[in-house]
Amino acid sequence: MIVLDHLSKTYVGSAGAHEALCDINLHVESGDVFGIIGQSGAGKSTLVRCINLLERPTAGRVLIDGADVTDYSGKQLIDLRQSIGMIFQNFSLFAQRTVLRNVTFPLELHGTPKKQAEARALELLELVGLSGKANNYPSQLSGGQQQRVAIARALASNPKIMLCDEATSALDTLTTHSILGLLRDINKELGVTMVVITHSLSVAEQICNKVAVIEAGSIAEQGKTADVFGNPQSAATRLLIEADQGFACAKGGN
C-alpha cells in the first residue's frame, strides 16, 4: 500500500549538507499498523512527512497503491493528502474554532456542503467519545480529549491511511493507553492503515504489527514487532530495549 523505494532526503544549509534520510526502503501493507521507532533526531518525522509529501525526498520514490506520487503537485497532491489523515504530537488544533469546526475543517477545504460536513463531524465525535463537546473550544479540553478531536479531524475525509507523529508523546500513561486503544479500534473497524512514529518501545509493542528501527537516517532493521524486539539484530534496537528496561528498573526501584 505504501512503498518507500530507495528514499533519501538531504538538507542543504549554511553548515553544509545534512543527510536526514539515507536509502530508506519500506513496505507497508494494507491494514498494517506500522511502527517507525528511533531516538530523537533519527529522522522519523522527516520520514513520515515524505509519505504525504510535506517533505520532498531528494532521491528515491514514494508509491501509494502502486502509483508513483513523488512528483505530485496541484490537484493530484491535494487529492492524495485528502486520502491520508495525520495527527501530531501537540495536536495542532485550531484554537479559534470549536471542536465541531475543527473536525469539519478538512471537509470545508474540499467544498463539502456545511450540513453534510457537520453530520459527518458529529458522527466522528461520537466515534472518539466526545459527542457532548462539539461546541466547546480546544482550550476547554484535556490533552487526551484534544488528541481525540485531532483523530476525528484526521478521519473526516475518510482516509485509507493515517500518519501518527508521536501522537501520545505529550500524554500521560493512562491517556496514552486509551488513545492507543482508539487507534487500534480505528485500524480494526475502519480498516485504516497506520504509520506510527514513536520513540517509545511500549507504544510500538502495544499497537504495531510491524516495526522499523531507524537510526541516524537509516533503517537498522525491520520486521514483525515480536521478532524485532524478541530477537534484536541491530545495536540500535538493543539500545532502545536497554533504555526501556533501564527506565522500567528505575521505576521499579523507586
Partner: protein
Amino acid sequence: MEAINAFIAQYGALMAQGTWDAIVMTVLSTLFAYVIGIPVGVLLVLTEPGALHPHRIFNSVLGWIVNIMRSIPFIILIVFMIPFTRAIVGTSLGVGAAIVPLTVSAAPFVARMVEQSLAEIDGGLVEAAQSFGASTWQIISKVLLPESMPSLVRGLSITFITLFGFVAMAGTVGAGGIGDIAIRYGYQRYQDDVMVVAIVLCVIIVQIAQSICSAIARKIDHRVR
C-alpha cells in the same frame, strides 16, 4: 453653568464638526490602510525564509519599501505628497485630501502589525492544514487570518489611536478636525478653554476606541489566558 452654556453656544457647532471630521478621517484612513496593509503583511509572512513560499529577493524589496515609507515623518509626508494628493482628490485641503497621506503613512505600519500577528501563529497549524490538502489561499483565509484575529483586533486599536494623533497633525496643514481647532483657537488665539475641551474630547475618543477593541479581542479569543 452660564459659562458652559456660553461656550457651547459659541463653539459647540465648531467643536462637533471638528470632532466628526477627525473621526471620519481616522476611520476612513484606518480602513484604507488595512485594505493595503493586510495583503502586504500576508505577503511578507508568506515569502519569509522557511515560510510557505520563501522568496528572499521579493521579501527584502517589499521589506525595504515598507521601511522607507515608515521612516518618513508624517508631517513631512503630508507636504511631500501634496502633488500626488491633488492628482487623486483634486485638492490638497480638507478631509478628503488628508485621507491620502494618512493612508500612505499608515499602510506600511499596518503591514508590519499584520506581519507580527500572523508570525505568532504556530507553524504546526499551517503544517496540519497542509496535511489535509489546504491551498495557500485556504491557509491564509481559514488558518492564518482567523487564528490571529484577536491579535489583529488589538493591533487595530493601536493603528486607530496612532492615526487619530496623525489627524491632529494633518489639521495644522488644512485638513480640519479637532487638532486644527486646538491649534487655531486654543494656541494661536490664546483661547485656553477651547484647547482644554479639545484635549478632553481627544482623550474620550481614544478611550472609547481602546475599550471597544479590547472588549472585542477578549470576546473572540478562545485560547486559555
